[in-house]
């Protein structure tokens, strides 16, 4: 079973890596091999006799075993189109992060790589869980390695960052746990068969946890410290993958199981997203360091995706999935680049950087190309995602797209500021002439991410068309256009008629 293997392989790998009595290089190499095998395993989902069928709205690669049968709790996993992409994003980002950790030579290797692999398995489990309790267990299992990774391997102010992170996410988790129990007992724990609910409070219980996790404005207080103090590859995982768990939660649980409250509270969440988009962009524009810019641009991007999810039409939802993958790749690459810079200069402060382009052509090329992709230059994958989200938001109401257009200009301002501050003008005080160009190992990791971005730039339709299957009008029964057993969107011939059918 592919889904279970995708969960089990990294968990087993974590155990093996933890027990391997060898030098940190060997331990890291084993972890990287496991991550690559996981990547290969994911790719097999596209080939062979039992390949994923994007045309079907039904759950695929499904597996179900009774767990606590009295309560109807089961080990139930499976994939929809969009979850397949999110799992793919997870394995790609985790592979890149582990490879970077190996290159950076993280100490206490057994624990470090075991935690990274454990995290991989947990996140894959979150993206595939079809049972609320399983979802919650995986969600918590994902948080614990993160607490440790930040708290132990982080920067100077790591404890403060960890506590903030713990305080926020624990509050969210507890709220979610209570919600799951109350909801599950009355409606059933299995997501494919659970009844839809009209309770605003239960909806808000889930929504609050996901809002913290994404994060969306105004529950983003943990973001700046956590992203600044984590090791770069952990920050990459945090913003690249873990933030997507929240959006996945919105998609899979909040929107599907609570069509009524979603509809009633849509304006609230659209507003929070729109505010967060502009707010994050403005803060990114004044952030004094590389990671601060990337962190707040992450806030802006997650808000953009939130805008897409809550606009709730085919265009915006497909765009959101595409943009989740895009942002995962981009922010991973940006955090790793921040690590590359910090490794050479021991600072991320823009005031102390500068002039790194001269004599370092590969570093310059990587920063410029990933930077302009992240500001969504037309033709890039990020542009395609942003365009679809905003086009969908525009159909929801023209006013929702306007903050997005403002943010496009702001994104140009803060990313160009970042690029120039690092690369251009005279040499910064922390930059020595000897600071080397990007090493082959670093190039392999970041270059591969860039290649994925470029491939998606050429063909974004690969994801946008294959995220949600098409449901006939007859199959769509609810306002959110999905029945619990399957996940698809109502197909309508042209956008102009979208408004009327909805």
């Amino acid at each position: 079973m592919l889904t279970t293997s995708l969960i089990a392989l990294p968990l087993a790998g974590a155990l093996a890596v933890f027990l391997l009595p060898a030098s940190k290089e060997w331990v890291g190499s084993l972890a990287l091999a496991v991550a690559l095998a996981e990547l290969g395993l994911w790719i097999t989902g596209f080939f062979g006799k039992r390949q994923f069928d994007f045309g079907s709205a039904k759950i695929q690669f499904e597996q179900k075993h009774a767990w606590i049968s009295d309560l109807g709790i089961s080990y139930h996993v499976g994939l929809f189109g969009f979850s397949l992409w999110l799992v793919g994003l997870t394995v790609v980002v985790m592979t890149a992060a582990i490879a970077y950790g190996l290159w950076a030579g993280r100490e206490r290797a057994n624990a470090y790589y075991a935690l990274m692999l454990f995290l991989t398995g947990a996140v894959v489990c979150v993206f595939t869980a079809q049972d609320l309790i399983l979802f919650y267990v995986a969600y918590e299992a994902m948080m614990i390695p993160l607490y440790v990774l930040i708290g132990v391997w982080g920067g100077a102010r790591r404890l403060q960052a960890t506590f903030k992170f713990v305080a926020y996410t624990m509050a969210g988790s507890l709220l979610m746990f209570a919600t799951i129990v109350v909801y599950g007992i009355s409606h059933g724990f299995d997501l494919t068969s659970a009844q839809q609910s009209g309770s605003v409070w239960l909806f808000l219980g889930f929504a609050a946890a996901f809002t913290v996790k994404a994060p969306l404005f105004p529950l983003h207080g943990w973001l700046a410290d956590a992203y600044r103090e984590s090791p770069p590859e952990v920050a990459a995982v945090l913003s690249g993958v873990v933030s997507k768990v929240a959006i996945f939660g919105f998609l899979r649980i909040a929107l599907t199981q609570f069509p009524g409250p979603t509809h009633d509270l849509r304006t609230l969440f659209l507003t929070l997203s729109a505010v967060g988009l502009v707010y994050g962009s403005l803060l990114a524009f004044r952030a004094p360091d590389v990671r601060g810019i990337v962190a707040y641009s992450s806030l802006a991007q997650m808000s953009l995706i939130g805008l897409g999810v809550f606009s709730q039409n085919e265009l915006s939802l497909s765009g959101s999935v595409l943009q989740m993958v895009n942002h995962g790749l981009i922010s991973t690459a940006l955090f790793l680049l921040a690590g590359v810079i910090e490794m050479r200069t021991h600072t991320g402060a823009l005031a102390r950087l500068g002039g790194m382009a001269r004599g370092r052509p590969i570093l310059a090329s990587l920063i410029v190309s990933i930077g302009v992709i992240s500001l969504a230059v037309p033709g890039s994958n990020a542009f395609a995602g942003e365009f679809m989200i905003l086009a969908g938001a525009f159909q929801r109401g023209w006013g929702w797209a306007i903050p997005g257009l403002v943010a496009m200009v702001l994104a140009a301002m803060y990313m160009l500021r970042l690029i120039s501050a690092v690369l251009h003008r005279e040499l910064g005080e922390s930059v020595t002439k000897k600071a080397p160009d990007v090493r082959p190992a670093e190039l392999c990791v970041i270059g591969a991410l860039l290649a994925a971005m470029l491939a998606l730039s050429v063909w974004p339709a690969a994801i946008s068309k294959r995220s949600f299957a098409c449901l006939d009008q007859t199959q769509t029964t609810s306002a959110s256009s999905s029945t619990p057993a399957q996940f698809g969107l109502a197909c309508v011939p042209s956008p102009s008629s979208t408004e009327q059918t909805r």
Binding site: A111, I133, F163, A167, P378
Partner: protein, 624 residues
């Protein structure tokens, strides 16, 4: 066949970029130049093939659409990557790849010995690719992609000299101004998706009348497209980036900021004219913006002392003529001026480049003078360029600009005002172009010039620089003859947009405007060459570029920075971060305990994980 040629034309420069980028240091600097030049030359050859094949079709049957694959696709919207070859795009393809090839070849001489030459040639070939994508696009989204990518290449090339703070600032300014235009165009595209249901040019324009039923929608679409065009073509009020863009290498100024990219706004308006015709007020605004720009920037050009900035302001002024023509519906005239302008403006920039190159980077015209004897060939090239710019017969600008002046004469009061502006513009053009010519070439050599010339072997530039100049001089000389009132209209016949006037009136109006231009030439001759009169003092408002930069700084940039700072210091730090910090300090005390657990032993982390998991399990049992 046409489709194949269109793809070759588009992709050849991209292949050049990839070849240069991927071969890195293995490629010699000179070889990078050859590679870039030949890739654009292939594009030009393919454009000629497409042109010849299209010409062999009947006049009504000259459209080819070719599709590669779906770029953005959902069940509701399908935007394909497809190309559109029709006379309008062919004209642009020929100009972009043809003039592009000449300028890239010129760069081989100009950039010789420059650090990071390879990067330069990769960027400039990427620009040619992006520009070809812009003009070959068959739908609004692909057009926007090309539109954005030319902006990106412009950013990269303006900031090519990365250690110059002024170059980097100029590059950023250009990109951000263009991002404003891009955002406006995105808005237009959203409206088209919603109200037309498609982004393909052919059905959108065919149903423009239907779209026009909804006055508001079509007005906003046209206005948004206009904002995009104004930003890209550096028209007032989004023009301030172009003079600063002169920080880039001179061939870049010639190709991107004179001959091709900045005229994309004109192309956009002509391409989408069925939409503009449904929004007559917006179209009149197009003409008005053109008129205001051609006057204001023409006046500013009069007081510039930097040779490249004079040409930059003249570019805005000439594009103002094209906007004026497009705004009064004279699309053929607008496009014809675009083509001839590409010839003589590229010529002027490249000739100025020869001068700058010979003087070791000096751009201040006050320090030049008397170069006619040392650089006779450059002088002749510059003379042809300045004459063509001023619209003197029989040079290219005479035929194209006077057509616009004459066409503006017809119509009501608004059009008469446009005509007056165009005529005053003719005088301004003659004044600034010949002021530049006389300042640089007549009079006596200054000591500094003499020293510089001696140091740089003196005289003209190397062969790689001179032959493109010669070709462009020839084009600026004869390019206008495609369109001779009363005799033939080859250009507008091909474009399929006539709109010519009664022949006698056109010649009469031409005579008036030539007289005005000659008057201007005479004035500058008395001041700057014969020096019988003193030059008037430059008005402060003009030296300050009519205060646009300062106003934008005060109105937009500073408030935005202030807002960002206030948000960060008052809201983010005080409210968002502090609220948890209280919790954080409390937890920190508890953290001492936690720190004891984090003793670095791997066991304890697993213990922690296990404890977490068992906690979950415990809760489980409780709730069970």
């Amino acid at each position: 066949m046409i489709a194949a040629a269109a793809w070759v034309c588009l992709l050849a420069p991209l292949v050049g970029v990839l070849a240069i980028a991927l071969s890195g240091n293995r490629l010699s600097r000179r070889a990078a130049g050859y590679l870039a030049t030949s890739s654009t030359a292939v594009a030009f050859a393919a454009a000629i093939v497409a042109f010849a094949l299209t010409l062999s079709h009947a006049a009504g049957n000259r459209r080819t659409t070719t599709t590669a694959f779906s770029w953005i696709e959902t069940h509701a919207l399908n935007v394909k990557l497809d190309l559109f070859v029709d006379p309008l795009s062919l004209v642009m393809m020929l100009v972009v790849s043809g003039v592009g090839t000449l300028i890239v070849a010129y760069s081989i001489g100009y950039m010789d010995g420059e650090d990071e030459e390879r990067r330069y040639f990769a960027y400039i070939a990427f620009f040619v690719f992006s520009m070809l994508l812009l003009v070959e696009a068959a739908n609004f989204l692909v057009l926007l992609v090309g539109w954005g990518l030319v902006g990106l290449s412009s950013y990269l090339l303006i900031g090519f000299w990365q250690d110059r703070p002024s170059a980097i600032a100029a590059a950023k300014k250009a990109f951000v101004m263009n991002a404003i235009g891009d955002a406006a165009m995105v808005l237009a595209i959203f409206l088209l998706i919603q109200h037309a249901g498609t982004l393909d040019f052919v059905p959108v324009f065919a149903n423009a009348g239907l779209l026009g039923m909804n006055t508001w929608v079509v007005n906003i679409i046209a206005a948004s497209l206009l904002v995009g065009a104004v930003a890209k073509s550096a028209q007032i009020p989004l023009h301030t980036w172009l003079p600063d863009a002169m920080e880039g290498p001179t061939p870049v100024s010639a190709l991107i900021h004179a001959a091709t990219m900045v005229t994309a706004g004109v192309y956009l308006i002509v391409r989408t004219h069925p939409l503009f015709e449904q929004a007559p007020h917006v179209q009149q605004t197009v003409a008005g913006i053109g008129a205001v720009t051609l006057l204001a920037t023409g006046a500013i050009a009069l007081v510039q002392t930097d040779i490249k900035r004079v040409i930059a302001y003249s570019t805005m002024s000439q594009i103002g003529y094209m906007f004026l023509a497009a705004g009064i519906g004279a699309y053929g005239a607008a496009m014809f001026h675009l083509v001839t302008h590409a010839f003589f403006k590229a010529l002027l920039f490249l000739a100025a480049g020869v001068v700058i190159h010979a003087l070791g980077g000096e751009q201040d015209m006050r320090k030049m003078g008397g170069l006619r004897k040392r650089m006779p060939r450059t002088f002749i090239a510059m003379l042809i360029g300045a004459g063509a710019l001023a619209g003197l017969p029989p040079l290219a600008g005479f035929f194209s600009k006077d057509a616009i002046v004459a066409l503006a004469f017809s119509g009501g009061v608004y059009d008469k005002m446009l005509f007056a502006a165009a005529l005053v513009g003719v005088l301004l053009t003659a004044l600034y172009s010949f002021r530049m010519l006389f300042l640089v070439f007549s009079g006596e050599e200054s000591k500094e010039t003499h020293k510089q010339l001696a140091k740089h072997r003196g005289g003209e530039g190397p062969g790689w620089m001179m032959w493109p100049v010669a070709v462009l001089a020839l084009l600026a000389l004869v390019g206008g003859w495609l369109q001779i009132p009363g005799a033939w209209h080859l250009f507008s016949d091909f474009l399929g947009r006539g709109g010519s006037l009664a022949v006698t009136r056109e010649w009469l109006l031409s005579a008036v405007s030539v007289a005005v231009a000659l008057g201007g030439v005479w004035i500058t001759w008395t001041i700057y060459s014969a020096r019988t009169q003193k030059a008037p003092r430059a008005p402060k408002a003009l030296v300050e570029k009519l205060y646009f930069d300062r106003a934008y700084d005060l109105l937009f940039y500073r408030p935005a920075v202030l807002l960002a700072h206030r948000l960060a210091s008052l809201f983010e730090q005080q409210v968002i971060e502090r609220s948890v910090e209280e919790v954080g300090t409390g937890a920190l005390r508890g953290g001492r305990v936690a720190a004891a657990i984090q003793n670095g032993l791997a066991r304890s982390y697993v213990l922690l994980v296990a404890a977490g998991a068992s906690l979950v399990l415990l809760l489980f049992l409780i709730f069970r």
